[in-house]
């Protein structure tokens, strides 16, 4: 029995929150600039717009911090155990032998902050799976949704270590040859 690997030893780095805040600011600036352009003749609307934008920013930022705090993962011998949820808690047990692919990703902001995102996918088709298909590039969402587990904000070194750890566990849990490969 190897000792379990968890978010305690390989945490989501605090600077990921800062990176995410920058991303939110960037998106809000882009989207709110359209509103300001549209209503440039009405200054009062502009002031209300700024308040609204600040509230949206606070909401998105705080929810990100809380989601990060609520998300936990543990690599056990047979399962990848995941927990998430601020109000409604969810726990997922993902057998290594169902993992379809492992994805390591670095966006432009990840490069600046020296972070990496690990994505683990199986073939599960849960609720809203069709909507999720349209949003195939939604990499930076933390936690699990449908067939995808996203662990963002890892240091490059930790992400590489976790990737190897998952691959070793996939190897240690081979599929019965009578299966179709799914």
């Amino acid at each position: 029995m190897s000792s379990p690997i968890s978010d305690k030893e390989y945490p989501i780095e605090p600077r990921w929150t800062l990176k995410h805040a920058l991303l939110i600011v960037f998106i809000l600036i882009i989207s709110s600039s359209f509103v300001f352009f549209d209503r440039s003749d009405k200054q009062e609307d502009g002031i209300i717009g700024l308040e609204v934008v600040s509230i949206i920013f606070l909401y998105l930022f705080i929810s990100t911090v809380l989601r990060k705090k609520a998300f936990h993962y543990t690599f056990q011998d047979d399962f990848l155990v995941l927990e998430q949820g601020i109000f409604s808690k969810q726990k997922r047990y993902l057998p290594y032998l169902t993992i379809q692919n492992v994805f390591l990703f670095q966006g432009p902001l990840d490069r600046i902050f020296k972070l990496a995102c690990l994505i683990i996918e199986n073939a599960a088709q849960g609720e809203n799976s069709l909507e999720n298909r349209k949003n195939r590039n939604a990499f930076q969402i933390i936690g699990f949704y449908n067939n995808r587990v996203t662990i963002p904000g890892l240091s490059k070194q930790n992400a590489e270590f976790l990737k190897v750890a998952v691959l070793e566990r996939i190897k240690a849990n081979p599929v019965d040859t009578s299966q179709s490969g799914l």
Binding site: Q100, N101, V102, L104, K163, L167, T177
Partner: protein, 182 residues
């Protein structure tokens, strides 16, 4: 530029024609766009100078500007594609297929052979012109559709990659063949 070689890439190399193909494919629409702008700007200036019976250096200036922009886009795109080509990594390890691409925002996908659903080889119109092939490796996930492909290999390499992947998949999940009834 140092090429990130693996045993697989040494055995089944990417074609250098890929650099040229991707440069042309990536720049042609931008060059045409600038060309159309240049044409409209020059024609309007020429007509304007005829109406007002004045002479202007603007058409020459527009021509130099358009040509410089086109040249700059082509050069930048060419060097980016060379960089992309050099960092393109793929390896068929005994247990996994590993594909890593993207010099600025790297993404790495690892697929266990047992999860590969099919392998297909295709050519778009640019591949037809340059005699190149794309080898796609599908697992049951959406990400594998856009990340798990080795593009820009010549026919021999494409067939070699396809054969070796299919053979390994067969070894990993296949059962001994039984004769077909009737």
């Amino acid at each position: 530029m140092k090429i990130s070689l693996s045993k697989t890439r040494e055995q089944f190399p990417l074609s250098e024609k890929k650099i040229l193909k991707k440069t042309i494919k990536g720049t042609i629409s931008k060059v045409l766009f600038i060309g159309v702008f240049w044409f409209v700007a020059v024609i309007s200036k020429v007509l304007d100078s005829k109406v007002h019976a004045t002479s202007s250096n603007a058409p020459v200036f527009y021509t130099i500007l358009a040509l410089s922009l086109m040249f700059l886009i082509c050069i930048l795109s060419y060097f980016y594609q060379r960089w992309y080509f050099a960092t393109y990594y793929y390896d068929l390890t005994p247990d996994f297929v590993v594909i890593k691409k993207g010099p600025i925002t790297p993404q790495e996908i690892t697929i266990p052979y047992e999860r590969i659903q099919d392998v297909y080889v295709d050519q778009d119109i640019w591949d037809r012109i340059f005699g190149l092939y794309d080898v796609h490796i599908s697992s049951a996930t959406i990400s594998s559709g856009f990340a798990a492909h080795i593009d820009g290999v010549e026919k021999q390499a494409a067939e070699g990659l396809r054969d070796i992947i299919l053979k390994t998949v067969q070894q990993k999940i296949g059962k001994p063949k039984s004769p077909v009834a009737s």
